[in-house]
C-alpha cells in the first residue's frame, strides 16, 4: 500500500513541481499586478452591469439606490489596500 501511495505521489509531483516552478518564475511585482488586475477587472464588471440589476428602492427611501456605487467603493478600497501593503 505504501509503495502504491508513493508511486501515485511521485506521478502527481511531476506536474505539481512543474507548476510550482512556473509560479516561482513570476516575480513578486508580477504577483502584485495580478492581485490589482483582479480587483480592477471586478470593478469594470461592476460598473458595466445593467442598471436593472443594481438599482432599487429601499423601504423608507424615495430615491432609488445604485448598488454599483457601494460595490465600487469596496473594490477601490481593496485596490488601495493591496497597493499600500505590498
Amino acid at each position: 500500500m505504501q509503495a502504491l501511495i508513493d508511486s501515485i505521489a511521485n506521478i502527481l509531483r511531476v506536474p505539481g513541481d512543474y507548476l510550482r516552478e512556473l509560479t516561482l518564475m513570476i516575480p513578486l511585482s508580477g504577483a502584485r499586478t495580478i492581485f490589482i488586475l483582479y480587483f480592477v477587472a471586478l470593478l469594470v464588471w461592476v460598473l458595466t452591469m445593467p442598471k436593472s440589476e443594481v438599482c432599487g428602492v429601499l423601504p423608507g427611501k424615495k430615491e432609488p439606490i445604485d448598488l454599483r456605487f457601494y460595490a465600487a467603493a469596496a473594490l477601490i478600497g481593496q485596490i488601495m489596500i493591496y497597493s499600500l501593503f505590498s
Binding site: L12, L67, A74, Q78
Partner: protein, 540 residues
C-alpha cells in the same frame, strides 16, 4: 461559524485547541472587576431579552426559518459579517498576525469582499427568487434529489458537530471569564443561546447578531486605538516592528512569495482562497445565506451583501492590526494566541475590559446561534420534509423546527461534554474541518455550473460532486501517507481545494456535454439570465 473554510482550516483549528489547552493561563490574563462583570451580564440579559421578544409573532415554519422573509438589509449584512467571525477568530487572527503579519488580512479582504460582491449581484437573486429555505434545496431544484441529499447530509453533519465544538469553546471562554466550572458553563451557554434561538428563530438570530456586530466592532476598535496609543502612534508602530529584524520584514506585506515559510504564499491565497475556498463559502454556506433568503426583497438581499462587503474592509484593521501591535509591546510571547489577551490585560482600563469581553461573548453567541438555526432548518427542510413528512401545513414544520432546535441544543451539550472528556481534543475538530474542506471544491462547482451554465445536467453534477470528493480525499491521503509529502507546505488545504475544484469542474463539463440537456422549465429562474432555449442565444 467564521472561517469554516480558509482561515479556519489554517488558523482557527489551532486557536480553538490552544484556548482549550491554555484555559487556565487565559483565566489569569482576564482579571475582571465588578464593573466588567456588570457590563457583560447587562449585555447578556439584553441580548437574550431581545431574542425572546422578537419571537412573539412566529406562527409558521416560514416565520421561524426565514423570519417570514421580513429581514432588512442592514441587519442581514451585519449578521453575515458577525456570523463569519467567531470569538475564537478574534484571538486566532491576532495570534496569527503576531507571527505572520498583515498577510492574515487576506482572509477578510480578498477572501471575502470580491466574492461577496459577486454573490450579491449574480447568485443571490436566483437563490432568493426560487423561494428555497436551504442551498441544498436550491441544488435539488436545479439538479436532482441525489445532489440535494449529499449536500444536505454533508452540511447537516458538519453543522451538528460544529455546534458541539463551538459550544465547548464558548463554555471554555465563559469558564475563563466568569470562573464557573466547565460543565456549568456548557449547560448555561447552551441554554441561553438555545432559548432565544428556539423562541425567536432566524429573526432573533439576525437581530441579536446585528447588536453583537456593533458590540464586537466597538470592542475591537477600542483595542486597536488603545494599542496604537501605547505604541506611540502609527509611524512609531510601523518602525518598531521593522526594527525587530529580518524575521519581521514581511509583517506589512499582503503578498508573500511562493517559497515563503508561512502558510500564506500568494498562489495559495489567490488561487486556493480567492478562487475556490472563499467563493465556496460565500456562495454555498447555509449559515450565511439563510439570512439572505429571509431578506424582505431581492434588492434588500443584494444590498445586505454590499453593506457586508463594506463592513468587511474594516475587519482586518480592527482584528489583525492589534495582533501586530503586540509586537511593539512584547515581541517575546511564546504562545501566539496569548498575544491579544496580553495586550488587553496590559493596556485596557477597568470597564473597557468588560466591553471587550462582551464583544468576545457577542462573537461566540452569534456563531453558535447561526449554527443552531441553520442545522435545524436544514434537517427539517432537506431531510424530514423531503423524505419523511412532505405534505403537512407550515405550522407542523415550525413545531418540528423547534423540536429539532431543542434536540440540537441537547446534542450540542452532549457533544461538548464528550469533547471535554477526550484526551486528544484537537483530533475530532480536525477531522470535522477536514471533511468540510474536502467538500469545498466540488461544492463550488455545483453552485457555479448550476447557476452560470444552463447546459449543466443533474447527472453531471452528481458525477462532478462525487469525483471532486474522491479527488480531495485521495490527495489528502496521499499527502499524509506518502513517504515524502505530496505538497510542499504543511497545511495544503488551499491547494487540495483548488485541485478538487478543477477535477470536479472538468468532469462536470464533460459529462454535461455527453448527457441530454435539462428541460427549460427546470432551468428558467434558476440559471443566470436564462429565459428559455428560444432566447438562449441572445441571453445566455
Amino acid at each position: 461559524m467564521a472561517y469554516i473554510i480558509g482561515r479556519m482550516l489554517l488558523e482557527i483549528d489551532e486557536s480553538i485547541i490552544k484556548i482549550i489547552i491554555f484555559q487556565d493561563e487565559l483565566m489569569q490574563l482576564a482579571a475582571l472587576t465588578g464593573i466588567d462583570y456588570a457590563l457583560m451580564i447587562a449585555y447578556l440579559v439584553f441580548t437574550i431579552g431581545l431574542g425572546i421578544y422578537l419571537g412573539k409573532n412566529i406562527k409558521t415554519g416560514k416565520d421561524y426559518f426565514l423570519a417570514g422573509r421580513s429581514l432588512p438589509w442592514w441587519a442581514v449584512g451585519m449578521s453575515m459579517v458577525v456570523s463569519d467571525i467567531g470569538a475564537i477568530d478574534i484571538v486566532g487572527i491576532a495570534g496569527s498576525a503576531y507571527i505572520y503579519g498583515i498577510v492574515v488580512g487576506n482572509y477578510d479582504w480578498i477572501g471575502c469582499i470580491p466574492v461577496m460582491i459577486i454573490c450579491g449581484f449574480v447568485f443571490i437573486p436566483y437563490f432568493w427568487r426560487s423561494e428555497v429555505y436551504t442551498i441544498p434545496e436550491f441544488l435539488g431544484k436545479r439538479f436532482n434529489v441525489g445532489v440535494r441529499t449529499i449536500a444536505a447530509l454533508i452540511w447537516g453533519f458538519f453543522l451538528a458537530c460544529n455546534l458541539g465544538i463551538m459550544l465547548y469553546a464558548t463554555a471554555v471562554m465563559m469558564k475563563t471569564m466568569l470562573g464557573w466550572g466547565l460543565g456549568v458553563s456548557i449547560i448555561v451557554s447552551a441554554v441561553l443561546i438555545g432559548l432565544y434561538t428556539l423562541i425567536g428563530g432566524l429573526k432573533a438570530v439576525v437581530y441579536t447578531d446585528a447588536l453583537q456586530c456593533v458590540v464586537m466592532m466597538l470592542g475591537c476598535t477600542m483595542v486597536l486605538f488603545i494599542g496604537l496609543y501605547h505604541a506611540g502612534g502609527v509611524g512609531p508602530f510601523v518602525n518598531t516592528v521593522h526594527d525587530l529584524g529580518i524575521d519581521y520584514k514581511d509583517h506589512f506585506n499582503l503578498i508573500l512569495p511562493v517559497d515563503t515559510d508561512s502558510p500564506h504564499p500568494w498562489t495559495g491565497i489567490l488561487l486556493g482562497l480567492g478562487m475556490v475556498l472563499a467563493p465556496a463559502y460565500w456562495f454555498g454556506n447555509q449559515s450565511i445565506l439563510q439570512r439572505c433568503l429571509g431578506a424582505k426583497s431581492e434588492f434588500e438581499a443584494k444590498s445586505a451583501f454590499m453593506w457586508g462587503a463594506l463592513l468587511k474592509i474594516t475587519i482586518p484593521m480592527i482584528m489583525v492590526v492589534p495582533g501586530i501591535i503586540v509586537l511593539t509591546h512584547n515581541p517575546n510571547i511564546k504562545e501566539a494566541d496569548f498575544a491579544l489577551p496580553t495586550l488587553i490585560r496590559d493596556t485596557l482600563p477597568t470597564g473597557m475590559l468588560g466591553i471587550f469581553f462582551a464583544a468576545f461573548l457577542a462573537a461566540l453567541m452569534s456563531s453558535v446561534d447561526s449554527c443552531l438555526n441553520s442545522a435545524s432548518t436544514l434537517w427539517v427542510k432537506d431531510i424530514y420534509q423531503r423524505f419523511f413528512v412532505p405534505n403537512k401545513d407550515d405550522r407542523h414544520y415550525l413545531i418540528i423546527g423547534r423540536i429539532l432546535t431543542v434536540l440540537f441544543t441537547v446534542w450540542g451539550i452532549l457533544f461538548a461534554f464528550w469533547i471535554s472528556g477526550l484526551k486528544d481534543q484537537d483530533s475530532i475538530y480536525n477531522i470535522i474541518q477536514t471533511i468540510l474542506s474536502l467538500f469545498q471544491g466540488p461544492s463550488l462547482v455545483l453552485i457555479l455550473t448550476g447557476v452560470l451554465w444552463s447546459r449543466t445536467t443533474g447527472i453531471a453534477a452528481l458525477v462532478g460532486l462525487i469525483s471532486g470528493l474522491i479527488t480531495s480525499s485521495g490527495l489528502l491521503i496521499i499527502h499524509n501517507y506518502a513517504t515524502v509529502p505530496l505538497f510542499q507546505i504543511q497545511d495544503p488545504f488551499l491547494f487540495i481545494a483548488l485541485w478538487s475544484f478543477l477535477v470536479s469542474l472538468v468532469l462536470t463539463i464533460v459529462v454535461s456535454l455527453l448527457t441530454p440537456r435539462e428541460p427549460d422549465e427546470k432551468l428558467v429562474g434558476l440559471v443566470y439570465r436564462y429565459k428559455g432555449r428560444n432566447e438562449n442565444a441572445s441571453v445566455n
